[in-house]
């Protein structure tokens, strides 16, 4: 019979689910082979739309990076839940006896890991394609780490929310993107500070103004991780 200890098992369950999702990604490489190229494609399309002017591109680079990350995160979340929808796996996962909070942390963790890898490549893409130069690598990485946690958490909540529905593909971006708008704002500002975008474009944000943005990212991450831990059990019950 399954043991009923709940307290320490949340993290264990999270690890079990994360390992499963990442293992499937290692095998199928859907995120690496499809979502990542899509993100790069978005960067290229922006350049085509804005024109080849170096100044324009460098000024817009932080924002374009985060828009590409947001779009890719929608796809990553969709993938994370589509692998649960094949052959009734969602029911299997619900029957598996895992703690709902653990499932949430596990799935969000796997999404965060994939988004993190994606951000490294997209970040390099911004430097190479747009010619942005890095002033503070630490600033870039810190903003990415915190923002990714928030994005993955909010994405996983909405992924689960839409999971049982037939219209999930169209509903998910509509629900998710406005909610993660603060991540776009704060991430862009933090990156502007760290990339040293032209002061004209960055405005007052470049000196000392970067601070509230890390705050926004941290609050966003905390709010959505806690909401997910609290509410995921409710979503698992929705037929």
């Amino acid at each position: 019979m399954p043991t009923m200890t709940t307290e320490p098992s949340v993290w264990r369950d999270a690890w079990v689910v994360s390992a499963k999702d990442l293992r499937i990604e290692m095998r199928s490489r859907v995120v690496m082979n499809q979502v990542l190229p899509f993100g790069l494609l978005v960067l290229v399309l922006f350049a085509l739309a804005l024109g080849p002017g170096r100044q324009t591109l460098i000024g817009a680079a932080p924002g374009l990076f985060w828009v590409a990350v947001l779009f890719s995160s929608v796809l990553a979340v969709q993938r994370s839940f589509s692998l649960e929808s094949s052959d009734g796996a969602r029911d299997g996962l619900r029957l598996a006896g895992l703690d709902p909070a653990g499932v949430f942390l596990g799935k969000a963790g796997a999404v965060a890991a994939q988004l993190g890898a994606l951000e490294v490549v997209l970040g390099a893409g911004v430097v190479v394609l747009y010619g942005a130069d890095v002033r503070s690598l630490l600033g870039l990485v810190a903003a990415c780490l915190v923002a990714t946690v928030g994005l993955a958490a909010a994405g996983t909540i909405y992924g689960a929310l839409a999971a049982g529905l037939r219209v999930r593909e169209t509903l998910l971006p509509f629900l998710l993107l406005p909610v993660v708008a603060p991540v776009l704002l704060a991430g862009t500002r933090a990156w502007q500070a760290a990339l040293g975008s032209p002061p004209g474009a960055a405005g007052g944000a470049s000196t000392g103004g970067g601070d509230p943005w890390m705050g926004v990212l941290v609050v966003f991450a905390l709010v959505y991780v806690s909401l997910g831990v609290l509410l995921y059990g409710y979503l698992e019950e929705a037929a």
């Binding site: 019979m1 399954p2 043991t3 098992s9 369950d13 079990v16 689910v17 499963k20 293992r23 499937i24 095998r27 199928s28 692998l83 094949s86 052959d87 009734g88 796996a89 029911d91 299997g92 996962l93 619900r94 029957l95 598996a96 006896g97 895992l98 709902p100 059990g233 698992e236 019950e237 037929a239």
Partner: protein, 237 residues
Amino acid sequence: MVPAVHLRSAIALTGRFPALAGADLVVERGEVVVVEGPNGAGKTTLLRLCAGLMAPGGGKASVLGFDLFKDRGEVRRRVGMLGHASFLYDDMSVTENMRFFARAARLPAGEVEAAGERLGLVGRVGRTMVGRLSAGQRRRVALAVLVARRPELWLLDEPHASLDAATRQLLGILVSEAARAGAAVLIASHEPEASLPLADRLVGMSGGRVVSERLLSAHHDDGAVSAHHDDGAVSVA
């Protein structure tokens, strides 16, 4: 001891359609019950409701003493289901799938390996990606997971479909063993002949309700009606 399944006028909705429209059913522990009925009678919904996968839309419903209106999570970790879908991940091997579900259910490592061995899922088959398996092989993997979890209630939806003769026979043995160990077994089938030798009771469903019920004395050599003792054990001749 409370019955394994206790439904009273239970309703279950799929969308807004009452797939289960007021079903009454009591299954005692240690009992094997076969549910028969035509397609669309509500058999699968009955099993999904008992598995805690859907919320009842009315009536009274409890499984293993847990109210299905409130404690579906508790129910889900105590039942085992073999459904139309195998609940497996295509991009993991047979062994990896079995290990995942074993770790999720906090089973000792040996448990699932023993079950896998019993169902012939070792060696080359164990390393095969589930996506490349045939329907019958997938069911065998799902069955191994179920056996390893030792659920208190077995919910088998058309268990004989796509299984070969040897596996069918093994399934029969596994079901009898589980029932002897005190688990309740609910088998849904639209052609119950294959399951009848195992069953204590045959229940007919149609239109989302239980419409007939028959004790199967043939199963017991002495012709006695299966007695449900309070400790949940069943005397099998």
